[in-house]
Subunit: 193 residues, 2 copies
DNA sequence: CGAGGATTTTTACTATTTGTAAATATCTTA
DNA sequence: TAAGATATTTACAAATAGTAAAAATCCTCG
């Protein structure tokens, strides 16, 4: 954990240099002294949270991606998921005309994401749902209407959409043919392990 | 920013309750006083970084996903990328037979990811590359061999693969027809903005 | 419903250390 | 080599994080 905190200061310096900024520029932008930036980068001082957040903002970086970019840990070379192995899974009990097939479950990667294939039959029915995830969807075939919050948008084969799944949403197939899409969930909170 | 810090304490409480933990349990595990946990959750005290990291660990949560799960901000409901709008982009100068089309660029989402369509012609040529990203790929059509590190794996339409892009890798099309795939990059560090 | 135990919040206070202005050291460039 | 830019260090004051314990609140059970 000491290493982790020192890694924060090192990461600040890396980003600062990548962006060609001086300590004085960052300090001025973050409204702290240049001495503090130096001490933080050199591991001499642990910044308070407000100061750290100001520094991250001064580096024109988002908090989540700052912490995402800190060194993590061990790895496997790759994971393959075969078409024939895509298990049918349940996502919503009250859905009619929805079929989900799992590509990668939540626990398979160090990134909190899940990949599934979704096929929706014509005349499908389902209320709006909310997920604790950002959702990315790529239309593999067919068309559907996406109802998100108070808005609707029609997607066709080859189109993609990205949205915050905490907003109530539902895809609706108003055509006469099935529609299929690849769905990626980027989870926002730690799953039960 | 004040709101952001208060949001940290609120998030800690949310996670704690979801996991059915008491303040005393978390405090004991984080090796701080129960009073401090209460003050943090109620926005009375801003925890130092070491303490915050200990609390996050006591909640059995990862730092990156903790910050990922904090409310972000004003957002558009969704972002759509149309098939017709997929711009052809360059990824590697020395590649022959590779065509990339951008779906979402890196800067379009609060998550550091990028989505592209990749088509590889038969007889394509390219050396192995490394990216600062995890890569997820879904085979849209055709087949290709994925060479990752010292290993090879053949992927067919409908298959998916997930790997650490820092390992030298290259897809090879040994068939007589083009192959296409959807590629998602999950970036590991903050890009130059 | 009341009592007792569990849990959370608050109080009073101390120790620590963050963050500063300015001095000093180091680096870079002409 | 000298001057300006940049980074580091020093000495110190102010603030507040973090504590132990008291007080308040909540919850469950007989």
């Amino acid at each position: 954990m000491e290493d982790y905190i020192i890694g924060i200061g090192k990461r600040i310096r890396e980003i600062r240099k990548e962006k060609g900024l001086t300590i004085n520029t960052v300090a001025s932008s973050a409204e702290v002294s240049n001495g503090l930036i130096s001490r933080v980068e050199n591991g001499r001082t642990i910044p308070s949270l407000p100061v750290l957040l100001n520094i991250i903002a001064a580096l024109d970086t988002e908090v989540a991606s700052f912490f995402n970019s800190l060194p993590q840990g061990g790895k496997t070379a790759f994971i393959v998921s075969r078409k024939e192995e895509h298990a049918i899974i349940e996502k919503e009990d009250d859905a009619k005309g929805f079929q989900y097939k799992s590509i990668f479950g939540k626990s398979l990667s160090s990134i909190a994401f899940e990949a599934v294939l979704l096929e929706i039959q014509p005349g499908s029915e389902r209320g709006k749902v909310e997920t604790d995830a950002y959702e990315f969807k790529y239309m593999l075939s067919g068309s559907c209407v996406y109802n998100i919050g108070d808005e609707e948008v029609t997607l066709h084969q080859g189109d993609s959409i990205f949205f915050d799944g905490r907003i109530p949403h539902v895809p609706i197939n108003r055509t006469t043919a099935p529609t299929s899409m690849l769905v990626l969930y980027f989870y926002l909170k730690d799953a039960e392990n």
